[in-house]
């Protein structure tokens, strides 16, 4: 069995995001970037399946700038076998990402595509679902447990009522929740080995995918600064304030 894992290079979750002075976007100059956290769970799960013998090959794909190679190398240092970078300078909408991934799926013919449930930069939470629709494959989203048996997978996903257990036929698209596992640390020797693993770089232009943006970004702004609270002496004063100052009751 072969698994394709999609990973995204995003601003590290510890970094305090800053809006550019001209409101055109988010400041990324010299900002620490790393693998989107749920994507790390996807990589971890794929490697676990490989270690258990169910999966024979784990291929990692990323779409983005030349620098996204670093993210692919991190996945390979964790244990993925090889990498593909679809190079583009363009900022892609989830639909364009899904279409690009579909083109890669058609080339690679994996049995399963694993993705993070969403990327922490734009929180779109669309790519996996769109990819499933484009491929006409079943989808399992926000997966917190994954079991594989022959051509079927069983998954658990958190829903409002509790845990939903599903059985899905492969090939399928699966998006991973942070609860799925705890990603491993890459050891130094494995980081060294990862440098020698194969990494193909393809230009997005060679995939003949429509990447035109359907979304126009007008302006990025910081949320308004929170105003400080005030102490009230008693409930009566509180009601007065809510009624006449805040005018909410």
């Amino acid at each position: 069995m072969k698994i394709l894992v999609a990973v995204k290079r995003v601003i590290d979750y510890n970094v305090q995001i800053r809006v550019k002075a001209d409101n055109s976007g988010i400041e990324t100059d010299n900002v620490k970037m790393s693998m989107n956290p749920p994507d790390e769970n996807a990589v971890e799960e794929a490697i676990k399946l490989k270690t258990s013998g169910v999966v024979s090959e784990v291929v990692v794909v990323s779409i983005g700038l030349e620098k996204s190679q670093d993210t692919i190398r991190s996945a390979m240092a964790m244990g993925a076998d090889r990498g593909i970078l679809v190079k583009t300078d363009q900022m892609l909408d989830p639909l364009a990402v899904a279409k690009t991934l579909k083109a890669i799926v058609e080339k690679e013919n994996p049995d399963m595509v694993l993705l993070g449930k969403q990327a922490i930069d734009y929180d779109c939470n669309q790519t996996g679902q769109m990819l499933s629709a484009l491929l006409d494959w079943p989808q399992g989203c926000f997966v917190s447990r994954l079991g594989v048996k022959d051509q079927t997978i069983t998954i658990s996903r958190e829903i409002d009522e509790g845990l939903e257990e599903l059985e899905i036929q492969l090939p399928a698209v699966v998006t991973c929740d942070l609860r799925l596992n705890e990603p491993r640390f890459a050891s130094l020797p494995n980081i060294m080995k990862a440098k020698k693993k194969p990494l193909d770089i393809i230009s997005i232009d060679n995939l003949s995918v429509d990447t035109n943006s359907r979304v126009k970004y007008i302006k990025v702004e910081e949320p308004p600064v929170r105003k400080g609270g005030a102490m009230v002496a008693d409930a009566k004063e509180l009601i007065q304030k809510l009624k006449y100052e805040a005018k909410v009751i």
Binding site: D12, A21, N30, S187, L188, P189, M192
Partner: protein, 547 residues
């Protein structure tokens, strides 16, 4: 705490292992590869990426870089903003007086220098080093020194990853490995925790004065473009510090309407109630400064200890199998307020020494000879009397410095000594005045939590506390009683706190180690030297972007 003694550790051999990807370590690596591309070199860096733990003013003198990479301009070095004007201010509470530039000692004149982000310079040097074949491993901390049976240094061990707070391996446990080097270079920066061990073990400082330190703060502000003048350098002494406390401010107008504003205070201060953080916040409210910041926005904050002892405190920098470079030894030039060029040069000299050691069987003590012949030594020699003179107070020291630096250019026929280590200088709380600092306004001045938030510092949960107490009872029994626990004041990140336990009604010493920004001040200033800073899990600590 269980020690994972029985683990089989992988070993990776190199010709040279360098600890720390700062200016000195990276310069060592680049120079080594220039001298012989076949020398295998690796650098291990505790920050999650190169530059992530670098914090510096910084007005950069290109002297060392000119020698290392003469074509740095063509190579795209992030060194763009030339110093265009400068001002030196004496501040009193309400006002400030400029000192004419011609009266400033040469060491304080910055013509020809550049305003840079040292973190970004290191990122760039890292790329250069990698292009020459140096292997850089960010996100890994060098936690231990490895010795052979004859007590020669033969490398370092990286920290174990995935260990819980009791010291037991978690599911994600990944044992550290041993990086073996024919020579190991320690380039950890000021108060490196391995450097500290080496200095003690090999008695490298037996002929030196006690080392002197300072704590430096830096904030980056985006200010009103009409108030910004790119290339302007401003320094001040005086208010808010009293004449007996050593320190001063910097304010550099960098690119993109940003200013780098900061404050440095000598850690030989005496009043346990002094809060370096609050002195810095207070400084920003001075009429000469707050007009600049009004309408601006603070975008970064950080703090780091720096080394100020100079030549008198410089330890021997070589030992069997290893060298100390940069501020792990203490090559900063205090009167110049610059350490990057001297750190880089010390690394380049180390590389020349290692080249001769590896291929011509020269002893590593060659380092000392080459160092003494270099311009770094001359600079540090000329600068040696400035910092110690400040124990006489600000005005006498400035007069002395004027005579020493302007008239004699550092050639006076005597050397003043540093008499005390910084942890020995605190007066007892009962003999000290409590200091009341103004409230933070949230516009110009900020509380510690919101400042720490900007550093992006993070340590994985459930790991060994990396601020270790040699005697856990001392903070309450001794430091609190005698000094009213100065850690609460000197820590720039709010790591330490005293809380009253609700049940026992006893005071408890709290260590919020996840807040730590790796400045090392506690390791230096704690009066009984009870706090030992060790490396947390690799990748932890601040995530500085353009510091």
């Amino acid at each position: 705490m269980s020690e994972n003694q029985n683990i089989q550790r992988e070993e990776m051999p190199y010709d040279v292992v360098i600890v720390g990807a700062g200016p000195s370590g990276l310069s060592t690596a680049i120079k080594l590869k220039q001298l012989n591309p076949d020398t295998t070199v690796c650098i291990i860096e505790k920050a999650a990426e190169v530059g992530g733990h670098i914090l510096s003013g910084n007005v950069f003198e290109t002297k060392a870089l000119d020698e290392l990479l003469p074509n740095w301009k063509d190579l795209g070095a992030p060194i763009k903003t030339k110093v265009t004007s400068e001002e030196f201010l004496f501040l009193n509470k309400k006002n400030g007086f400029s000192v004419p530039t011609w009266l400033l000692p040469k060491t304080l004149q910055n013509h020809g220098n550049y305003i840079i982000s040292l973190a970004n310079l290191c990122r760039w040097l890292g790329e250069i080093a990698e292009s020459l074949g140096v292997e850089i491993f960010p996100g890994f901390a060098a936690s231990k020194i490895v010795y052979d049976n004859n007590q020669n240094v033969i490398g370092i061990q990286t920290g174990d990853m995935g260990v819980d707070k009791e010291g037991n391996p978690k599911d994600t446990f990944e044992p550290g490995i041993i990086l073996k080097g024919k020579v190991t270079v320690f380039a950890e920066g000021c108060r490196g925790h391995l450097g500290k061990e080496l200095i003690k073990k090999f008695e490298l400082d037996k002929n030196s004065n006690p080392q002197q330190y300072g704590i430096g703060f830096k904030e980056i502000w985006e200010i009103d473009p009409s108030l910004h003048s790119e290339g302007k350098v401003l320094h001040s002494v005086g208010w808010p510090l009293d004449a007996k406390t050593y320190g001063g401010s910097f304010c550099y107008h960098a690119e993109n309407n940003q200013i780098f504003i900061g404050y440095v205070i000598g850690l030989d201060y005496k009043n346990p109630y002094l809060s370096p953080y609050d002195e810095f916040q207070k400084f920003k409210t001075h009429p000469k400064i707050n007009t600049l910041l009004k309408g601006g926005k603070r975008i970064s904050y950080g703090a780091r200890a720096l080394i100020e002892g100079g030549l008198q405190s410089l330890p021997q920098m070589h030992m069997p199998g290893a060298l100390l470079v940069g501020c792990d030894a203490g090559t900063l030039n205090m009167p110049k307020i610059k350490g990057s060029h001297t750190a880089m040069k010390s690394g380049m000299i180390a590389a020349e020494t290692i080249q001769s050691h590896l291929y011509d069987q020269k002893n590593l003590s060659l380092y000392e000879q080459l160092f003494k012949k270099s311009w770094v030594y001359k600079e540090l020699y000329a600068a040696r009397n400035v910092k110690p003179s400040f124990r006489w107070g600000l005005i006498p020291a400035l007069i002395f410095t004027g005579i020493d630096q302007l008239l004699f250019q550092g050639k006076l026929p005597f050397t003043l000594k540093h008499k005390h280590a910084d942890h020995e200088t605190l007066k007892l709380a009962k003999d000290s005045n409590k200091i009341k600092y103004p409230k933070y306004d949230g516009i110009i001045t900020f509380d510690k939590p919101s400042s720490v938030y900007l550093t992006g510092t993070n340590h994985a949960e459930n790991q060994i506390v990396h601020l270790q107490l040699k005697d856990p009872s001392l903070p309450i029994k001794y430091t609190l009683e005698k000094y009213d626990e100065p850690a609460v004041s000197y820590c720039p990140a709010g790591v330490y706190d005293i809380q009253i336990n609700n049940e026992t009604k006893q005071s408890e010493f709290i260590i919020n180690s996840q807040n730590c920004i790796h400045c090392k001040t506690c390791d230096i200033k704690e009066p009984s030297q009870n706090i030992n800073w060790i490396t947390p899990e690799g990748g932890g600590g601040p995530n500085y972007a353009n510091m």
